[in-house]
Symmetry: C2
Subunit: 384 residues, 2 copies
């Protein structure tokens, strides 16, 4: 009946301020939506939602009634009885809302339309020259977005997430100097795209978008480092279930961690950067050495931040995934084992799932996230 969306405001993200009843209402709705999404197609019963959220069953009934009325959730079958009335299963309605994900890379762009469950409904990949004129790039991107929107006519799209390489300001949506593409320096990409698309836009680094998407996976870890080895080397950090962007949203500069004092000079001007060492090894046809170096850097990251796991991605890794996963795991294990006082600590290394449109899908997840409260850990470092 009421066509108002549930308030997107997440209490966890603004817990610094006071909270009133509308905020509380939106928070609890987001919590239940998060649990519903985590349950996937299997669904959850009201009592399980109550147990998972800490709310009383009656409160869950009321809130889910609102969600059903808004079309976001629906009843879907029943559980087997355990001696009494069987539990009714509730499920997210994936088609109730959609989000756009847009990945602008140096040489190609990927647009995706994702439903509420985070599943890609339509994907369009196209070549792109990020070095071209801004208007040209924006027009191409907008056309691509229109194409994926056309795949689901009438879909209620709540916004677009945009992922780009290079440093940028997530809060203001302004690009900094993308390496090699000075014309984008200071360009207000978020505002420009929001106007052109007529949608709310969230801008983030490609590595952050990918990491965010990985964090939403049903079996995702609560904290991990996503290492992306492509034409460069970057990282996305997920700490406590949320992407860590840092004070100026510049966190994740993993490639220019120095792991060899006074080592070979890197393109960035420093010496002994892990990116320079890794890429030199790759260029020399020694992926084993690249993996070893990457593993040492991963060990530094794991020890500093105590994350649950390490995920690998990027074109260079995808060229020979098993070699990199095994090589990094061996190097990482060796470092952690040597530093043996922590005992039998082992941090799994895995290939980041999702393939070629993982970044675009993660960007769509950035938008969807405003509807959900993460069922995992709490302290969001994001600040409005």
């Amino acid at each position: 009946m009421t066509s108002e969306n549930p308030p997107p405001s997440d209490l966890a993200e603004r817990a610094l301020g006071g909270a009133n009843l509308p905020l509380l209402r939106g928070h609890n709705a987001a919590v239940l939506l998060g649990l519903l999404r985590a349950a996937g197609e299997g669904g959850v019963s009201r009592l399980e939602l109550a147990e998972g959220s800490g709310l009383t069953p009656q409160a869950v009934s009321k809130i889910t009634a609102r969600l059903r009325e808004a079309g976001l959730a629906t009843e879907a079958g029943r559980r087997a009885s355990t001696g009494g009335k069987p539990r009714t299963v509730l499920r997210l309605v994936p088609g109730a809302r959609y989000a756009i994900g847009l990945h602008l890379d140096r040489d190609e762009s990927v647009a995706v339309l994702a439903d509420l469950a985070g599943e890609p409904i339509a994907v369009r990949r196209a070549p792109l020259d990020l070095g071209a004129d801004a208007d040209e790039v924006l027009a191409a991107a907008a056309a691509q977005v229109a194409e994926v929107r056309a795949a689901a006519p009438g879909a209620q799209v709540i916004g677009a997430g945009v992922a780009c390489p290079g440093p940028l300001d997530h809060r203001t949506g302004v690009l900094h100097r993308v390496t090699g593409l000075p014309q984008w320096d200071g360009y207000p990409l978020r505002a420009a795209l929001a106007e052109r698309l007529g949608l709310p836009v969230v801008l983030d680094k490609d590595t952050n978008a990918a990491a965010h998407g990985l964090a939403q996976q049903p079996d995702g870890a609560e904290s991990f480092g996503y290492l992306h080895l492509g034409t460069g080397l970057g990282a996305g950090l997920v700490l406590g279930g949320a992407v860590h962007r840092g004070a100026r949203t510049g966190a994740g500069e993993f490639g220019h961690q120095v792991v060899q004092l006074d080592g070979p000079r890197c393109g960035c001007g420093k010496r002994g950067c892990i990116e320079a060492l890794c890429l030199a090894a790759v260029a020399a046809g020694e992926p084993a050495e690249a993996a070893r170096v990457l593993g040492v850097g991963a060990a530094n990251l794991v020890e500093l931040l105590d994350v649950d796991r390490v995920l690998l991605g990027g074109r260079t890794v995808l060229a020979d995934p098993q070699a990199y996963v095994r090589g990094v795991a061996a190097s990482l294990d060796g470092q952690l084992r040597a530093h043996g006082s922590a005992g039998a600590r082992t941090v799994p290394v895995a290939l980041a799932p999702g393939g070629a449109h993982a970044v675009a899908l993660g960007a769509a997840h950035l938008v969807l996230a405003s509807l959900f409260a993460s069922p995992r850990g709490a302290l969001g470092s994001a600040r409005a």
Copy 2:
């Protein structure tokens, strides 16, 4: 009059779950207490609290009335009039509650009694042999705690924060293998101390306690790395206003970050650890080289996490503070400037204030934190 404490539950810490009215009440009380604490002796008016929290003035009036009834806040003078009725200033009552801070170091222990404002009321320092029998150590610690409690008879003490070196589990309160002191491996220090003191106890690493205390400083940054160079090298990370402890509460292993691939072997078994390089330089009487290495590690940390600043502490640093601050700053600046694409980015390096009982005071702050919600960035308006 009512002796009930305000609910210590912090919405931000359990935002994973649903929220109900008592939780909301406690949260808003904690938010206002946080603002009151941030205001210090100067105090805040009700309208300023409303602006800072996003609550309505009337809500602030009701909540502060409860805080005053509980004895936690009081009226303290008036502001100058701006044409109408002058604002009444509210102030925290520092003596309403107290917390114990206990720093157990290898060779000495420091106990402190801190009031609600975080000011030390009593401090006792005593030699300690952390290698002695557990019961002996606990008895000595308990006696020391009793001494500082005696300094404020009748004080309502809400708990004790305990800071120790070496790896430990913050959540369970169990020590892991403290380097060189294997007898503490697996010892449930929190439970043992809680029983002996008859108080709730929070256990944390010394570096985390120090970092937490630094984060509560009125002029403290929202995110920073605290590097502690003493007999070893460790770090405390404050991200988004809160100490980052990691998945297994083992974060902050800064000393064994590898910054020299295949470098000299470290005591931990790895090669090229920053701790080994630093301490070797110190032993060789070359603090400048130690500072340079430390600056490179600090640059790695700053780029990876995008923190606001770097703070230095620990005995070795305190032996020649200016040299280290200047040396690290120069090295850090050089690294960041070389990696120049980020532009005129400068991260200040400073000596961590607080002196010799900073860790113990930070430990006391760990307990006090349960009463407050961090006021930083409190621009959020709860108005819909």
